[in-house]
């Protein structure tokens, strides 16, 4: 039995009607915008329902739609190997309080990816085992992939000017 976008949408809508805030189809990919509270039940259902079997959480990534509310969006790409089908989940997070439930306890593959999204966008994943920066240095101030993060030239630190550069850093007076 091959999965179709319409079939998957219908299955999910009958089960999680209220949790699905919107759906879209672009270039053949089905994308569902979810209420944050519905994320974990939908993700587990996608993986474990016998007729769906989206056993691989391919990718988790964040996008900053600056100037729009909810400003942030976390995008999950699920793959069903059995049925050769993709489905995309999207969850929005507000600028003032960007919180999203973490999938990392149930999907270990999301662990590093959620840490990267936290590192780059400052989205807090509630329930993550150890949410901390992964790519940027721990003492970095700000979230570099936010659209309002200023693009500046960083002076290269050598032994002779290291202290002078350090004194100008945002964390210097802390």
């Amino acid at each position: 039995m091959a999965l179709t976008n319409a079939g998957v949408l219908q299955t999910l809508q009958t089960r999680f009607g209220a949790g699905i805030l919107g759906t879209s189809e672009f270039r053949g990919d089905l994308a569902l915008t979810l209420d944050p509270q519905a994320l974990i039940p939908v993700a587990l259902f996608l993986r474990e329902a016998p007729e769906l079997q989206y056993i691989l959480l391919s990718s988790v990534t964040g996008v900053d739609y600056y100037g729009r509310e909810p400003r942030f969006e976390v995008v999950y790409h699920f793959t069903s190997l059995e049925h050769a089908h993709h489905v995309v989940l999207k969850v929005g997070a507000n600028e003032a309080d960007p919180h999203i439930p973490s999938l990392a306890p149930m999907f270990p593959t999301a662990n590093y990816q959620e840490r990267e999204i936290y590192d780059m966008f400052g989205i807090i994943f509630d329930g993550h085992p150890d949410l901390q920066r992964i790519l940027m240095p721990d003492e970095w101030d700000g979230f570099p992939q936010r659209k309002d993060q200023p693009l500046v030239y960083e002076e290269v630190a050598f032994t002779f000017n290291h202290d002078a550069i350090d004194a100008q850093k945002p964390y210097a007076d802390k």
Binding site: E48, S58, V63, H77, E82, R115, P129, L135, L151
Partner: protein
């Protein structure tokens, strides 16, 4: 010395049997069970666990934390591992990454679509053409544009040559880590030939930027076919040579069989893809399941292993090298003539001759080189099979001439999460074999 006929211990599934077969993949419940017992610790957690263990053990000999890397020859780049050891046994470990982070995804947001291609080379620097392809396919999905057959076939051909290039470096460094020096030298000898081919078509040995949204950067040169043919003629005998040195080698088998074992359910829970996943017996290859660039037209086998250990990963990659040669040969035989890029003038600039007599062409040329094209608003995710696994490219367009967001689903980054699970309870010296067989490229991990 006569070269022994290699005996593959792995299953070669025929083409017809590969699409969805019931029971071939672990069920969602099995993966959920595996995931509930799996940990992906961070270095901070390792240090905390070590402190707890020392406090509970008055002799203070319970365990120690060893920092391996970031400058260690066997970590394949600037990878640091915080390893908690009890004697020589690994209790747990945590990879620490980010030393090579250069903000490639952020930089791409400030370049026009066509100019951002050069940055894709620099993520996985052993597979530049496949990176180019993943980005090109994602942008083309946004644009919804047709690619002429010559470019399609050339893309498949270069994907396979790049895969060979990346596997040769994997094999050479893997063997070198386990003290087989000559394999390393042989692999780099053949890799040199491949880099010459890349230089012939693109002018650059490593940072090729050859596959671009819309087609190829330039047409293939006249001497391309015979050069690649010479390489494809000699390559199978070289693969025999590597296999004669390693496959039945007792030391090699001792160091790899049963080392770094991972089950199919665990591998899927932690997101392993590529040869690392196929070695556990899961028949997932993006080229078969979601064919792109016409992969459905090529006759090749999907190679799977059974044990999921380092030796099986080795066997799977060796068999895939032979399959890659086969695909490249089919592509070279069927390379059609014709245009090498799309004829859509809103995406690809016209030729020089056209500009001399057509005003529209001149305008198109000017607009494309100053401003670039503008895909419609939307987002697209495209996965391709790179040398390391499922390389996904996610591009968001806001309708302007620059991508709003580009993200790479970097297989090295995600595969690295499997290392703590593989290494648990194993001997420290086997950790070296595991890192090499996972085959991370730190440029791609950190982007």
């Amino acid at each position: 010395m006569a070269i022994a006929e290699p005996k593959p211990q792995i299953s070669l599934l025929p083409v017809a049997a590969t699409p969805a077969r019931s029971g071939a993949f672990p069920s969602g419940q099995a993966i959920a069970a595996a995931a509930s017992e799996m940990e992906v610790p961070s270095p901070r957690q390792i240090v905390a666990a070590n402190k707890r263990r020392i406090q509970n053990d008055p002799t203070g000999e319970g365990s120690m934390v060893l920092n391996m890397g970031p400058h260690h020859p066997s970590t394949h780049g600037v990878l640091r591992l915080a390893v908690e050891l009890a004697g020589e046994t690994v209790l747990q470990l945590a990879p620490e990454v980010g030393f090579l982070h250069t903000g490639i995804e952020k930089t791409m947001e400030s370049k026009s679509y066509q100019k951002a291609v050069v940055l894709t080379d620099r993520t996985d620097y052993l597979g530049p053409m496949i990176n180019n392809l993943s980005y090109a396919l994602a942008v083309e999905k946004l644009l919804d544009c047709e690619i002429p057959p010559r470019a399609q076939v050339a893309r498949v051909l270069f994907s396979e040559l790049t895969r060979l290039n990346s596997y040769l470096v994997w094999l050479g460094t893997h063997a070198l880590d386990l003290a087989a020096m000559s394999v390393f030298l042989y692999c780099f000898r053949e890799r040199e030939y491949l880099l010459d081919i890349f230089e012939l078509v693109s002018g650059a040995r490593m940072m090729t930027s050859y596959i671009r949204p819309g087609g190829l950067a330039y047409d293939l040169p006249a001497e391309f076919k015979p050069t690649v043919q010479r390489f494809l003629d000699i390559m199978p005998s070289h693969i025999d040579e590597y296999e004669a040195l390693l496959t039945e080698n007792p030391i090699w088998k001792e160091r790899t069989i049963g080392v770094g074992k991972i089950s199919a359910a665990d591998a899927l829970a932690v997101g392993l893809t590529g040869a690392n996943l196929r070695a556990t017996g899961v028949a997932y290859d993006v080229r078969k399941l979601f064919p792109y660039s016409g992969y459905e037209n090529y006759d090749f086998k999907l190679v799977t292993g059974t044990q999921g250990d380092t030796y099986d990963r080795y066997l799977v990659r060796m068999a895939e090298m032979r399959e890659s040669v086969k695909i490249a040969q089919q592509a070279l035989n069927n390379l059609p003539d014709g245009p090498y890029a799309t004829s859509d003038r809103k995406i690809w600039p016209p030729s020089k001759e056209e500009i001399t007599y057509s005003m529209e062409s001149l305008i198109h040329h000017f607009k494309l080189w100053t401003e670039g094209f503008k895909p419609p608003v939307g987002d697209a995710y495209v996965a391709v099979e790179s040398g390391r696994g499922e390389l996904g490219c996610y591009v968001v367009s806001d309708g302007s001439n620059k991508p709003w967001r580009v993200h790479f689903r970097a297989p090295s980054f995600i595969n690295l999460q499997g290392l703590p699970h593989m290494a648990k309870g194993q001997i420290f010296s086997d950790l070296i074999a595991m890192i090499a067989s996972l085959d991370p490229v730190l440029g791609e991990v950190d982007r």
